[in-house]
Amino acid sequence: MHNPARILLAPLALGLSLSGLSAARAQEPVAREPTAAIAPSETAIGLIYRPEAAPSSYDAEAVPEDEGVAGARMAVKDNNNTGRFTKQTYRLDEVALEPGTGGDGGQKAAAAARDLAGRGIRYLIVALPADEVLAVADAVKGQGVTIFNVAAPDDRLRGADCRRNVFHVIPSRAMQTDALAQFFTLMRWRKMFLIVGPQENDRLYADAFKTSAKKFSLKINAEKPWTFGPLAKARGDTPTRSEAMVFTRGVDYDLAIVADEAGDWGDYVPFRTVDPRPVAGTQGLIATTWHPMLETWGAAQAQNRFRRQSGRLMRPLDYQAWEAVRSVGEAATQKKTADPAVLAPYFAEPGFSLPAYKGVSLTYRPWDHQLRQPLIVVQPKALVSVAPEQGFTHQRTPLDTLGIDLPETTCKFAD
């Protein structure tokens, strides 16, 4: 059981492990009924997501109900603005799944995908956990549908469980932890104390961090499980605090790495360690795609446009959904057609590129369909660095120093 991620700077996989959620909520989201026929000149993009359950009590930073969706809406507007000059029009068909998977999330997601594909939709944005992304991919296999995964960072989706019809906009966990590891290497912070949460996603994050540590010659000096409960969410009290302090005693480390993708306890750790040590990982200093502090490379314009449209700050999931919808628009502009048969193979070609407020054009890796992108290394109130860091070079592009490279990939696209 865990509560909805409450922090603004939640890790990229926002609210993905909802399996334990209570079904009781104040307000059921209404699945927006997509309009019927698609006009010949119109490109419909489907979006399947599951809104966070409303927070049960006062929460200063509750996940907004339109998280992700709002970013896709902005991108559709951007596509249509450009489309006025290229004679292309776009629309977004949103499908909100019931909150709480009840164990059959994959079936519901697959049904939604089949329904959208049945109505001629050939681009699907999916903001769902890994298993449901796979269910969607397999449900519409062979129908010429291109799927954009915007919320599941699982490396297996880019590895053993990769699918030819799926493109990954959200950076993999390996990319996120590589970005942090590069920064630590640059700073010569080598000794890590890894603290791992109780959930499966936390273990996966910790595994990714260990791989990154090996890759960049960092040392994991200690690894301990977090066994004190969701103290950050519970606004932890004094007795447990002393217990948590004892837990960090006697470890020789430069930096504490917290693996807490749900945001349950990671924010509890900074300033409560026995030794004065900075905290990074899923909280503290994080590697992410988007942040309110980002304003270079024209990001200020996107921040303003989003805030005016949605009345709130843009979050990583909003940005990732924006990137996905813009991928379709950008490919259509470049190829002068929105024909799915033309665009589906084009996304992975070197000619495709997506400008996305990162100072460089973004492309998809042909071997696993992961979007190459710089990641921002940021603390709650300031941008600290941008990965790939200076000095990390690669024969193809420095962006390929983040995540799983071609020689290491275990992805084999089955046709």
Binding site: T82, Q301, Q334, G359
Partner: protein, 338 residues
């Protein structure tokens, strides 16, 4: 969104044209003196100020307070007024260059970023970055004459030498939009590389150069044929290709040399504007964006955002001769006509 062209009273337009004519004559007379000293104006995006530099002493002679997030900057044809885009205040501040005070503000529409003054000096063409439009303002009457819908995040503004064709570049749509300045209709859209920031016509009006910051290229467009005839690319030893981000462009009046600011590559490229060969890279300050010549084209100034200074280039020698510290995050630069 489009409100189309709002016709002004024809009599007034004529009056303004006459007025502009008088001031041009005045400039001609003033221009004869040798070793002319000009005034350079630099907008400091995070300093909310304009740094004023005298080209004779190469020293900062003043810092003027303006609205928030000043970016685009230009002078009136007679040099008596300075126009500054105060992006975060959704207005254009007009300063009296003798006092350094904001004397009035123009209704620019939301988030003005860059603009260009028409040849008559009465119309200002403004890119509204947050609002996907170009606003045409009569600067005397402070009246919006037209709003032209363009692509997402309009920025670069170029005007053909005869004033008939306005070009706006949209950073997220990645197009150069050609706008007829009599009808204020978009007449053509040319796709260029990612994130076009700046548009500059050659003095003969035949070619348009458009920089693409993320694409890393300059597209040279044949204006009559309306197609890209050349893409100029850059390669600098020891600099990542990703860091080469062209923004500001200036081409000499005789059409022989072009200077292109390369952003975080911290260089200005010198290009043979006839053969399009990149001849050399001049090292300047960090994150160089905008460029401006002195009217005699002997000097070129660049704004270096990250190092909070400007670089001064001797155009004939193709050498950087000085750097001058200015305010926080220098963005735009303009030089007085006299």
């Amino acid at each position: 969104m489009s409100r189309g062209f709002r016709a002004g009273a024809p009599g007034t337009v004529l009056g303004l044209a006459l007025l502009a004519g008088t001031s041009l004559a005045g400039f001609g007379l003033a221009g004869v003196s040798p070793a002319q000293a000009y005034t350079v104006y630099v907008t400091n995006e995070k300093g909310n100020s304009v740094s004023v530099i005298d080209t004779e002493t190469m020293a900062v002679t003043g810092t003027w307070k303006v609205g928030r997030r000043p970016r685009g900057v230009t002078t009136s044809k007679d040099g008596k007024e300075l126009f500054v885009c105060a992006s975060d205040d959704d207005r254009i501040d007009v300063l009296d260059t003798s006092s350094g005070k904001v004397v009035r503000s123009l209704r620019s529409g939301p988030d003005p970023e860059q603009f260009i003054l028409g040849p008559q000096g009465n119309l200002l063409y403004v890119a509204n970055e947050d609002d996907s439009q170009v606003t045409v303002i009569d600067v005397e009457k402070n009246k919006v004459m037209a709003e032209v819908p363009v692509g997402v995040e309009p920025e670069g503004m170029g005007l053909s030498p005869d004033g008939k064709v306005l070009v706006n570049t949209s950073e997220t749509t990645n197009m150069a939009h050609f706008i007829d300045t009599t009808t204020f209709q978009v007449i053509d859209n040319i796709l260029v590389d990612a994130r076009p920031r700046f548009a500059e016509f050659t003095a003969d009006g035949k070619y348009l150069w458009v920089s693409a910051e993320v694409g890393g290229t300059i597209s040279v467009i044949d204006v009559a044929a309306r197609r890209v005839i050349k893409k100029i690319t850059f390669k600098i030893p020891s600099v990542n290709d990703e860091a080469i981000q062209p923004v500001g462009i200036r081409i000499t009046r005789d059409g022989t040399k072009a200077f292109v600011a390369l952003g975080p590559a911290n260089r200005i490229a010198v290009i043979d504007a006839k053969s399009y060969a990149v001849e050399k890279y001049l090292p300047v300050g960090q994150r160089v964006w905008q460029l401006a010549f002195t009217p005699d084209q002997k000097l070129l100034f660049s704004t270096n955002g990250s190092s909070n200074d400007i670089s001064v280039v001797d155009v004939a020698a193709e050498k950087v001769v000085k750097s001058i510290p200015v305010g926080l995050l220098p963005w735009g630069v303009a030089v007085s006509p006299n």
